[in-house]
């Protein structure tokens, strides 16, 4: 059966997409909603939820103690909390962080630039490193460089993100390089596999046999046909970069969203955790959607 695939406009061209966009957007919204509800329920039912160290403060009056207790009342039922939270979010209020004593909107505005800067530079560094090591290995077939890069990426993959952060911190390295080093082994291995597949295709072998120089060979016949996988890898690396940022910002005391996530988790700050969960789920899913939108179109053009 020959089914007509739906099409959409992207970058001025008509693209074929695997699933209609509204359905994909609905799926993304449902995933983010479920993620937020799950985090709210998890924190709510954790042992010791609602206890506040202020309750131990003997200087507070009885009324103040009761007020402290009442401050958690609206969070007791996670469903009610979540519904009320969404109502406030739709009105433009993200809530208030009790552990950091500041509105969440302000916290996000203050901390997002640091994380954005860190992850973007880190991702850029990781991509540059992965390209620098994998392209000559695949195109020029340099065996020594292949062995060296395998050892380097293997060593980076064998250390935890927090361990890499400590190591580079002690050596005076930048936090951006920490993210780059955490992402590098994953990107390098995948990139090398993708490029190896592309460079083994018959038309590449023919171009090589005809004596085509390696620069046009790389751009026209290796990287360009592999762009669908590369776009998908960019989407995946956004998620990986934020995961690494959590550990690195916590270790290096960088006031970003990763550190906020760690602080909110250890303080069981429910409103902050829900906001971060929904936000991260949305960013990841949206980047995957953009990659999905590009991928089938790229394949159909290749």
């Amino acid at each position: 059966m020959n089914r007509q695939m739906p099409t959409t406009e992207f970058d001025g061209r008509s693209l074929t997409v695997a699933a209609p966009i509204p359905r994909a957007l609905l799926r993304i919204a449902a995933t983010a909603l479920a993620g937020g509800l799950l985090s709210a329920a998890m924190v709510r039912f954790s042992p010791g939820f609602g206890l506040d160290e202020q309750q131990l403060d003997a200087r507070l009056s009885r009324e103040s103690q009761e007020a402290v207790l009442r401050s958690h009342d609206q969070e007791r039922n996670p469903l009610r909390f979540y519904a009320a939270w969404w109502k406030r979010v739709l009105a433009g209020d993200l809530g208030f962080s009790q552990s950091l004593n500041r509105p969440i909107r302000e916290l996000l505005a203050d901390r997002a630039p640091a994380t954005l800067d860190l992850t973007l530079w880190g991702m850029g560094g990781a991509w540059v490193l992965a390209m620098v090591f994998s392209v000559p290995v695949v195109v020029r077939r340099l065996r020594r460089l292949a062995a060296l890069s395998s050892v380097f990426s293997g060593m980076a993959a064998s250390l935890p993100a927090a361990g890499i952060a400590i190591l580079l911190f002690r050596l005076g390295g930048s936090a951006k390089w920490m993210i780059a080093l955490v992402l590098f082994p994953r990107l390098y291995q995948y990139l090398r596999n993708v490029l190896q597949q592309a460079s083994g295709m018959p038309h590449v072998l023919l171009a090589r046999a005809k004596g085509l120089r390696w620069q046009p060979l790389l751009w026209r016949h290796v990287l360009w046909p592999a762009r669908a996988q590369l776009i998908a890898l960019v989407a995946v690396s956004i998620n990986m970069a934020f995961g690494a940022a959590v550990a690195i910002e916590a270790i290096c005391d960088i006031p970003g969203l990763g550190q906020l996530a760690w602080k909110a988790a250890t303080a069981r700050d429910l409103p902050v955790l829900v906001v971060l969960t929904v936000m991260i789920a949305l960013v990841t899913q949206m980047s995957n959607l953009v990659a999905d939108l590009c991928t089938p179109a790229v394949r159909s053009q290749s």
Partner: protein, 266 residues
């Protein structure tokens, strides 16, 4: 390559034996405090020195290795079983269960794993007894690590659902449950074995990350995560304090070298 794989396997075996029988290399128990010798330098009695509480670093390193090398495979087994259950049923049954499983997998994969681990671990009590905290930490890693494997198992089972052997088994009147257990799951066993092997080093690193952030195994039970914590403090550590990181590098590299080179992106 085969020689390197054999060498890595032998080294792993040697380290496992050293971790299981630490008394061969050191006499001191991991929690004994030599109070007159805090922060002792490397010596014949203490080959890696002592920590700030006067505990033998070598002994703690070997016991920490035991915790990681035994608990990480257990966590990997737990997540593989969960992946087989969820992915197997979703791929084989299809319908609403498949859609629900895909949604759950999407949700799990849309959150960075470390963020998810930190969030869930922080919701549980932190002042647990040491052994319980180790069980909770690795149990949690196993419980939250099923999603990537489940997606691959689901794809394998979906392919098998339409295969000749399953159609024939159904035509013979065999019930769905039996078809799944007897014909489908045995055929995805290589996928499950590969996922199990690939998960072990990832879980070792996850515990180390949690431990470094203060959410891992509790003192006095050593683990690679909490042994690395002194490196995070402002004081300049001596070279022996880096031993857990170096050992972790060696062990995880050996795990990667003993398995086929596949990328597990998390």
């Amino acid at each position: 390559m085969k020689a390197i794989r054999n060498l890595a396997g032998t080294l792993l075996l040697f380290l496992l034996l050293a971790a299981l029988y630490p008394s061969v290399l050191t006499r001191a128990p991991y929690d004994r405090q030599f109070r007159e010798l805090p922060d002792a330098p490397v010596s014949r009695q203490f080959p890696l020195g002592t920590d700030e509480l006067g505990r033998d670093r070598l002994s703690r390193l070997l016991y920490g290795t035991r915790v990681s090398l035994l608990a990480a495979p257990a966590a990997a087994l737990l997540s593989t079983i969960l992946a087989a259950l969820v992915g197997g049923l979703a791929g084989f049954l299809g319908g609403w269960f498949d859609r629900a499983a895909v949604a759950a997998i999407d949700l799990m994969l849309s959150l960075p794993w470390l963020f998810l681990l930190i969030m869930v671990r922080a919701t549980l009590p932190l002042n647990l007894p040491a052994l319980v905290s180790a069980l909770v930490t690795f149990g949690l890693i196993g419980l939250l690590g099923w999603a990537p494997a489940a997606r691959i198992v689901r794809a394998g089972c979906r392919t098998l659902r339409c295969s000749d052997l399953v159609v024939q088994a159904r035509a013979c009147g065999i019930r769905d449950g039996r078809v799944l257990v007897k014909h489908v799951l045995p055929n995805v066993r290589p996928i499950l074995a590969a996922q199990f092997r690939a998960s072990i080093p990832i879980y070792i690193l996850a515990e180390a990350n949690l431990g470094l952030l203060g959410l891992g195994v509790a003192d006095p039970l050593p683990s690679w995560g909490n042994l690395l914590r002194p490196l995070e403090s402002g004081l300049a550590p001596d070279w022996a304090a880096w031993a857990p990181l170096i050992l972790m590098l060696v062990v995880v590299s050996c795990f990667y070298l003993t398995q086929p080179s596949e990328v597990v992106v998390r």
